[in-house]
Every structure is written in C-alpha cells, then in structure tokens.
C-alpha cells in the first residue's frame, strides 16, 4: 500500500508542475502566469518532500512561493501589461519545430532516465542537520559571501528604482524581501498623473 503512494504522488506532482509551467509560458494574462508560477513552485516543494529534503521544501515555500511570487506580482502591478498575443507558437513552422524539439528532447530524456539510484541514504530522517552542519562548517565562507550578495542586491535594487527628484528622500528600505516595493510606489503614482 505504502509503495504505491509514492509513484502516484510523483505522477500527480509532475503533471501539475509541467502543466502549470506550460501555463506560465502560454497564458495570455501576466497575472495568470504569475499565479501559475506560484503553483508550480508549490508543487515543486512537494517534489522536494518526496525526495526527502524537507528543509529545502520549507525554503522553497518561504522564498519562492512567498517572496519571489510577491515580488513578481508587484512587478506585474507596476508595469503596463498589454494583452499581446504570442504569435510564435503554432504557426506554419509547427512540424519543423516539433521535429527539432523531438531531436533535442529524446537524447535528453534518454540521458535523464539513464541515471540510477546508487545511494543508500535512508529516506527518513530529514536533511536539516546535515544541511546545517555542512553550511556552517564547509561552506561558511560562501554563506557569508551570499549574505553580502543579498545586501548588494538590496542596495542595487533601491538605487535602480530611486528617483532623484524631490520627495524621494529618506524613507529607507524597510523590507529586505521586497526592496523596490517601498521605492516603486511613487513611480506608478507619478506615471498616472
């Protein structure tokens, strides 16, 4: 009984991931794309749980489904979204495109399915303790560099969307996950005037 659950879960999650990702590419409205992207990331978190990486799944939900989707939605909100049809799919090049996709995809799939499980890692037990001990011992320096990178990205985002004119002075970054949020609001406000 328990042996059947895992492939079924994998099938459902894989269908949801591929379908929602195709929806991201094919959807006409950008908001639909953004929400389908969040759905893809949520299902990917389920895939990480299936692989036994619960900590990564938690990070996935926190960072991708939480922060990045909200950032993208803010980007959708602050920019004009013209309903533009994607004229590139399903034109008369479809047979050639399908041929090229098959020629490129078949070797990739053959190579992908050629990988075999060789690990004897117990699927239970979680990955928090090995992950944390690895980050804070072997990868302590890259970890610190990553924090510097985040700081640089935050400062860069603030500088990029900063307006030099009057009134843009001293609000300051109050949210590290969405640095341009506090700055970007006046942009659309002025653009509407």
């Amino acid at each position: 009984m328990l042996d059947v659950i895992e492939p079924i879960l994998f099938g459902v999650l894989a269908l949801a991931i591929v379908g929602a990702a195709a929806g991201v590419v094919l959807a006409d409205r950008v908001t639909t794309s953004a929400l389908l992207m969040a759905f893809t990331f949520l299902n990917m978190a389920g895939m990480f749980v299936l692989l036994g990486a619960e900590t990564i799944a938690a990070f996935q939900v926190l960072i991708y489904v939480g922060a990045i989707t909200v950032l993208i939605l803010y980007g959708v909100m602050f920019t004009p979204q013209a309903p533009r049809a994607y004229g590139l799919f399903f034109q008369k090049q479809t047979p050639a495109g399908a041929l090229i996709a098959a020629l490129a995809g078949l070797p990739v799939m053959v190579i992908a399915f050629a990988f075999r499980d060789t690990a004897n890692i117990p699927p239970r037990g979680g990955d928090l303790v090995p992950l944390a001990s690895s980050i804070f011992t072997d990868f302590a320096f890259p970890f610190e560099v990553a924090s510097v990178l985040l700081l640089a990205a935050m400062v860069g985002a603030i500088v990029l969307v900063k307006r030099e004119e009057r009134g843009s002075g001293s609000a300051g970054p109050n949210d590290t996950t969405s640095p341009e949020h506090s700055r970007a609001k006046p942009v659309i406000g002025r653009a509407r005037e």
Binding site: I17, S33, I72, G75, T79, F115, A153
Partner: protein, 105 residues
C-alpha cells in the same frame, strides 16, 4: 522502505521544466514573464541538484547546500531584475523587450 520512483524520473522532470522555461524565455516578449521563466529554469536546476544529492550517493548532502545558494541567487536576481524592469518602464513606457533596442548594433 524502498524508493519506487527512480532517480531518472526526477531528472527527466527537471529537464522538461528547464526546457519549458527556456521556451518561455525565447518566446515571450514581456520582461516580467521572462523573469518568471528564468525562475522556472532555476527551480528545475534545484530539482536536479536535490535529486542527485539525495539519490546518487556520490555527494552526501552537499547538493542541498548549493540549492540554498541558488535560492539566494534567485532572490537577488528577481529583485534586481524587477528593479531594472521598473527603471526601464520609467524611462520608456514599455516592458516589451523587442521595443528596447537602443544598444542594438
């Protein structure tokens, strides 16, 4: 407990998601949608890293560490990318990457 889903299935799903994201980057012309598709590609790479880390046995838990770094890069990338898109939109009222061709030779 036996693992019934083979490693190859995860890698194949990762490749499929990566190619879907790449098709989106190539086909869509909206800069925000292109950012979303880049996120899809990063996430596909994350799935491959976690699958190899958990199942291949060559690298113990260290693939997951790289996934954490990919998370950091993705967050920084989407923040700076959206800032660039907003700065672009302030200078010219479009987010269509085909209409921004000042630096095209």
């Amino acid at each position: 407990m036996t693992t019934l889903v083979p490693l190859g299935a995860f890698i194949a799903l990762s490749a499929a998601l990566f190619f879907i994201g790449m098709a989106g980057v190539l086909v869509r012309r909206n800069a925000v949608v292109i950012l979303m598709c880049v996120e899809l590609m990063l996430n596909a790479a994350n799935l491959a890293l976690v699958a190899f880390s958990r199942r291949l046995g060559l690298i113990d838990e260290r693939g997951s560490v790289f996934v954490v770094f990919v998370f950091v890069i993705a967050a920084a990338e989407v923040a700076v990318g959206l800032a660039i898109v907003l700065a672009l939109y302030r200078n010219r009222p479009t987010v269509d990457v085909d209409e921004v061709r000042e630096m095209k030779g």
